[in-house]
Structures are given as C-alpha cells and as structure tokens.
C-alpha cells in the first residue's frame, strides 16, 4: 500500500513538473519569436524600409509604438500573449486567435491525415524491414525511408500533382473539398472546421468521399516525411527487441516468427515512436506550410505563407508564436502518455 502511494505521488509529481515546464518553454519560445522578428527591425521598417524616407518611417513607427524601448514592447507583448491576445493582422485586421479558430482546424486535420499515413506506411514497412533484415527488401525499404525523410515536402507535393493531375487524373490536387462540399459546410450550423467531421455530421457519403479524396495527396506528401522516420525507428527497435532474451525464449518454445513480430516485439518497438511524435508535430507543422501552399489547403500554414508574402509580420509573429505554444502543449501530452505506457520511464 505504501509503495503504491509512493508510486502514485511520484507519477503525479513528474506530471506536475512536466506541466509547469510548459510555462518556461512557452516563455522561451515566445521570447525567441519576438527577438527573431525584432532582429529584422520593427515590422514597419521590415515592410517599408528603403522605400520611405526616414522621416515618414519614423512617423509610422512612432504611431505603432515601435519606437519605445524594446523591453517595454517585450513585456507588453508578453502580457498580450499570456492573456491570449496575439494581436491582429496588419493587412486584414483580423485577430490572430480568430485565425487559429478558422484555419487551425484545417491544419489539425491535415496533420492527423499525415500521421495516419505515417503510421500506415512507416510501421508495417518498418516491421517488414526488421523481419527481412539485411536482405534486398530491407535495403530497399531503408533507401525508401531515407528518401521519404530527405525529399523536400513541396517537391513530393509537386510530383504527386504532376502524376495525379496530368498523367493519371484520378484525384483532386487542390483544396480541401469540392466547392459544393465547401458550401454545404459553410452553410451548416456550427461547423467544426474539420471537414471530415463536418461531412459526417452532414450525413452525406458523397461529401465524406469528396473530403477524403481531397485529403489523400496532401496527407501523403506530408505523411511520407514522418513515415520515413517511423520506418527506421520501428526497424531498429524491432531488431533490438527480436534479439532480447524473452523473445528468444518464446522462439525456443516454438512460437511462430510472425507471432513473435506482432505479439512480442511490436509493442515495445512502438514506444519510441510515441516519444518521437512530440518532435514530429513541430516538423509536421513546418511541413504543413509548404504542403498547404502546394495544394491550396487553406489552413494556418497557407495563411502564414500568404501573410509572409504580404509582409504582415504582426500576423507572422502571432501565428508562429501560437504554433510554438501548440508544439509545447503537444510535447507535454506526449510526455504524459509516454510516462503512462512506458515502464522504463522512472519518476
């Protein structure tokens, strides 16, 4: 009983510490975003420098408050961020948090599709590579993993568009849905912004298929990036697990090789993937900017690219800071999950 209590309080203490660490993490991330944006000058100079006279620039900078001491601007910015106010865009005067509500769900949906692709491709192929270790299949899969990881996501996207738009036009290559589905979702009551959920709520099989067909290529382009990493991780861990004593013992008892892989070696091999997902979220959000732009998937990444083009650095700063917070929170959740499922984690 005493042991259980001690173990439970250790876990809670561990999770509490991890939770509290979110705040300095977010603080550091937000500070970095602020400082990086300021290294290119104030947003007014960044947008208009070299084009306006110094006097005109000074007037605009003063009006926007960018001529005040940097630490005052910094603390004002921190105050805004910690009250959930990331500011408003310069070009369209829309609140940044509103952008998250409108476009964040689109990016979340894309990231989920990408993770599904990563799991469906990375894990079975990783298992196969481990099972066929040091064969031609293994070598081919390792090469595939390296290519999937190393090829720029926009290049994969363009290749997919070339294949599925020109050579074999069977899948839509832009947008999140056909316009009829978009309209139906726009007109429905309280849309979630996750089109698949909305299409299901509309109860239209045609719209569900439409949404899914639009998701295939963007999900594939972004998902392959992570699938390569998953493949290598699963292969490496599974090879290690297959050589452990308890697997050898099972093998000696006559357990079939396929059962050894699926029932004895897979679960332990999957745990590192959960850890990696935390880091991959940041990679996927970065990749989403390029994927969304390539496929006109109108999510946060697409908007970020649009605001970068418009040199709306207030919007860029707000969106990037917001993404940083999302990454920090995701990593916390992953830590919690790993702590709960991985017996090797000590508190």
């Amino acid at each position: 009983m005493a042991t259980k209590t001690k173990g439970g309080s250790s876990l809670l203490r561990y999770l509490g510490v991890r939770f509290l660490l979110i705040f300095p993490t977010v603080l550091i991330l937000v500070t970095m975003v602020f400082l990086v944006m300021r290294t290119i000058g104030d947003p007014i100079t960044a947008a208009l420098g070299g084009k306006l006279s110094n006097a005109e620039l000074a007037i605009r900078i003063s009006a926007a408050g960018y001529d005040r001491p940097i630490f005052i601007q910094y603390f004002e910015y921190l105050g805004q961020v910690f009250t959930g106010d990331f500011g408003s865009t310069l070009t369209t005067n829309k609140p940044i948090t509103g952008l998250l509500a409108t476009y964040g769900m689109a990016t979340l949906e894309l990231v989920i599709y990408a993770l599904i692709v990563a799991f469906l491709v990375g894990i079975p192929l990783g298992m196969l590579a481990a099972k066929r270790r040091d064969t031609g299949v293994d070598a081919g899969l390792r090469l595939f993993a390296i290519m999937a990881y190393a090829t720029p996501v926009f290049f994969v996207g363009l290749l997919l568009k070339l294949v599925f738009a020109v050579a074999w036009p069977i899948l839509p290559v832009n947008g999140r849905a056909s316009i009829n589905t978009e309209l139906a979702i726009t007109l429905m009551d309280n849309p979630t912004g996750i089109y698949l959920v909305d299409a299901i709520r509309l109860g239209s099989g045609e719209m569900i298929l439409d949404v899914l067909s639009h998701a295939i290529l963007p999900g594939l382009a972004l998902g392959l990036l992570t699938a390569g990493i998953f493949l290598r991780l699963v292969r490496t861990n599974m090879i290690g697990t297959l050589n452990t004593d308890y697997v050898e013992a099972a093998r000696s008892r006559g357990v079939k090789e396929s059962r050894l892989v699926t029932h004895h070696a897979l679960r332990p091999a999957l745990i590192p993937i959960i850890t990696v997902i935390g880091m991959q979220i940041a990679v996927l959000l970065g990749g989403a900017v390029l994927t969304e732009t390539t496929f006109e998937w109108k999510g946060l990444g697409f908007q970020l690219a649009q605001y970068l083009n418009a040199r709306d650095y207030v919007a860029v700063q707000g969106i990037v800071a917001l993404l940083a917070v999302i990454v920090a929170l995701t990593n916390f959740l992953v830590d919690v999950f790993v702590a709960l499922v991985d017996p090797r984690v000590k508190f």
Partner: protein, 546 residues
Amino acid sequence: MDHKLKRNLLSGLALAAVGVLVLAGCSSTTSDTKSTAGSTQAAATADPITITVGTTDKVTTIDPAGSYDNGSFAVMNQIYPFLLNSTPGNAEMVPDIAVSAAFTSGLEYTVVLKPGLKFANGNDLTASDVKFSFDRQVLISDEAGPSWLLYNLESTEVVDDVTVVFHLLTENDQVFPAILSSPVAPIVDEEVFSADSLTSDDDIVAGNAFAGQYVISAYRFNELVQFTKYDGYQGVLGVAENQTVNLKYYADSSNLKLDVQEGNIDLATRSLSATDIEDLEGNDKVQVIKGPGGEIRYIVFNFNIQPYGATTAEANAGKAKAVRQAVAYLVDREAISTQVYKGTYLPLWSFIPPGLPGSTEILKDLYGATPSKDKATKVLADAGVTEVVTLNLQWNPDHYGPSSVDEYALIKSQLESSGLFKVNLQSTEWVTYAQERKDDVYPAHQLGWFPDYSDSENYLNPFFLEGGFLINHYNNEEVNQLLRDQVVTVDFAERVAKIVKIQELVAADLSTLPLLFGAQVAVAGADVSGVTLDASFKLRFGTVVK
C-alpha cells in the same frame, strides 16, 4: 508503480481527446457569413443550373466605397443594381433600375427609378438610397475607393421616392452617364450600410443588402462566394438564367487551369498565364473565349520618391524626367509581348488603346519603335545624370496574372543591359500592394487598368487629373484643364483633338509608361454557353448556362 492511477490517467487522456472533438463539433470555427436569403437550401438542393466559376482575383471589400479593383467590382456587378448599365454584348448605357435618365439642364442629370423596387432583405429601394449611396462615397472618400470618379458631382437631391437629381459642377458632362455604371455607382441599402465609414463584408452579407441579379448566400473572404438568383431584381439585365453561381478563389493559376480543364469548374476568368491559354486552346474539353482588348498594363512613376523625385535628398525635376524618359527609350514592348505573353498582349504605344477615339501612337513617335541605348544615354547625360540610376521597381504576383514575374524580370534585364540602370525588383501580394502603392512606398510600380466604361476619357482623367487614383504626385495644370474641358466638349471632333493634345503632354511628362494592351480572356467548359466578354468589361454571371 501505480497501475490503477496510470489506467485512470490514460482513460482521462482518451476522454479529453474525445472531449476536444466533441467541443470542436459544438463550436463554430468561422466568422464568415451566411445570408438569410438563399441559405442552406441553395447548396443542398440540386438547382436546375449551377455554374462554378474560378478566379485568381481577390476582393478588397464588397463595400463600393472601399475598393476600386477588378476582383471587388466583379462581385459588385452581380449583387448591386446601377442607375445605368449596359446589357451583355453591348457597351451602350441604358437605364438599369431606372425608367429614365437624362440631362434636364446643363448642370442637372435626372434619374427616375422604377416604382416598387426592393432590396432582397425587403427594404424599399428609393431615391433616398440613391442619394445615400453617392453621398457616402463622397463623405467616406476612402483612398482605396472610387470616390474621385465623382469629381464633377456637386450634390445629389431627392425630389420624391423615385426621382433623384444630380447637380454637376460643370455643364454638359459627356462622361457622367457612364460614371453612373462605374464602380462608384452601385446602389446600396441605407438601412444596412454606414453613412460615414466602410461597412464590413460580413455585415453586408448578413444584412442581405442586395438588389442586383444575385444575392450572396454564402461568403468566405477570398475563398468562396455563393450567388443565388434574386427574383426581385427589376433591372435591364433581367433575372439571371441560372439559379446559383459558385465563385471559387485560387491562389495559384495552375490549379485554376487544372480545374477548368478537368471540368471541376465551368468557367475560369482572370487570370491564366499566356502559356496556359495557348495550351488550353488545343483542348477539346474547353473553349477559350476572347473579348475586346481594353485592358492595359503600364508602369507608374511616383514623382516624389522616384530617383531624383521631389521629396528625395537629390530632388531634381529635370533629372527625374530624364530617368523616366530613359526608361521609355529602353523598354522593348515587342519582346515582352512575344516572349512573355505569346502575343496575348500586344505592344501599347499610346495611353488610349487602339480603336477608341483619339488613340494615337505618340510614344512610338517620341521614343521610337525599338529600344535605343544611345538616346537613353543622351537624355540622361543632357540632364546631368552621370551615375548608374538605381530604380526600385515593384510588381505584383497575384493580380495581373502569373506572367508578371517574367514580364518584370525581362524589363529589369532590358534596363540593366544598357548599363544605365540598376533595378531592384520587389513583389508584394495584392491586398498590401493596393494599399502601399498609394502611400508613397513604390518609386516605380506595375499597374494594369480595366476600364470602368468604354470611353477614351476613362484612360485619361482617372490617371492624369490632379487627385486621380494613381496618387503619384503628377500635376500638370495644362493637362488638368484639358482633361476637364474635353469632358464637357459636346462637339466630337473638338473633343478628340483635345484628347490627342492631352496625350502629347503626358507622353512628354511620362507620369505612366504604357507597355501592353490585351484582350479579355475566359476559359469555359465545352458545354457552357452565354459567356459574354464585351466592351463594358463586365462579366455578368446571369447569362451563363450549361
């Protein structure tokens, strides 16, 4: 280890994940608007004819007082009524929601509305709304808006519910009737629109403040618009022949091309690249439709901040003019036309495109049909410019088609190959571009012009009259006077002579440097008919069927 605690926490995580999805399901993620008219049924039911249109244009705002660009006006043409308008295939002005419209004296233009007009929201459309529409344009005078088109309007008077009188500043304004069909003249609902500030798109759509051929039944800013036929429209265009038009906005013209050739959309309008159009012309699945070429492309010089401009440290009017003239000597229009636009845009040597009264190739006369480095060198040397001129040249990637990047790269190459210029090319997305070009940000920049109405004046007064939309600080009193005079000159030959004289003056000053003119082009599915590109430069969705 406490397995029970772990299990509880895992269950909690799972529940939290489900909760997030449920909450997402219960929350609205968009502030975009649905109209009360049309509404869900319009999208959910299969209409007899639904047309899907794609464009890379962008809307600045659908408040007529706050925008003066093709993307916004293309939407306004579908949803707002005008006092005068032209019918598809015909550029002649005729009363739209009016019974009559005519000069009742030299300084008075009287319009009598049809009786019983209503907005889609049920509000009456009366002479009071007409006065409100023009008064707010003048009062708001938004820099991005078209209020300057009302330069000759002194006041608007309501006589009774259906009669309104425009009091003009100068007599016999030959252009005023055309202005009543231009972007400054949509009639808006005084019970929805603000009298002294811009009204947001969401408020306009929510207020269902439409009385044109269509209402907007779904609206997501620069993503999609759903137009639903408004049966209460009583204007000259008649009730739309289709029930619904869905307008989809693209960021990338290659996606627009793919969708029209695959039949995902019925009509692609503005803007496909020249190579895309060339490619689609050989595709049996689509038809390429061309209309009169009233669109022009040109470079604007900002007289304040261009090299040696009035507010620069080395201000010198003579040197500044020499710089503009040197650019005119060096630009090779023929090369841009053939290499970049494959002949879809042609060299423009005049300020008014060929075919309109007074069009004259004055630039060819003054600066030669072919580039001349010697003449450019001489004009700079004569003005005392001895150093390489650094020119910041701004262009826009998303408003004038995807070939703009090649066009301006070629211009940079043409100028720099002379050894006389160092060109810094910079690009800006349209929403910002439209704002910054007015704010003395760009020393020289790309613009295009889609005429508001088919009259030579529309290529002159908006550009060169003091206070025009260019806001580039060009001001020539002689030009100003001639511009004002020609508008009120009743004798046609005399008016044309003044138009020619104006072009001679502005060709010497070079407030702008015309480069190209081009046809209107749209690409439609093979089964689509009724796409009319005419000299009014208004594409009406109401005639498109399939």
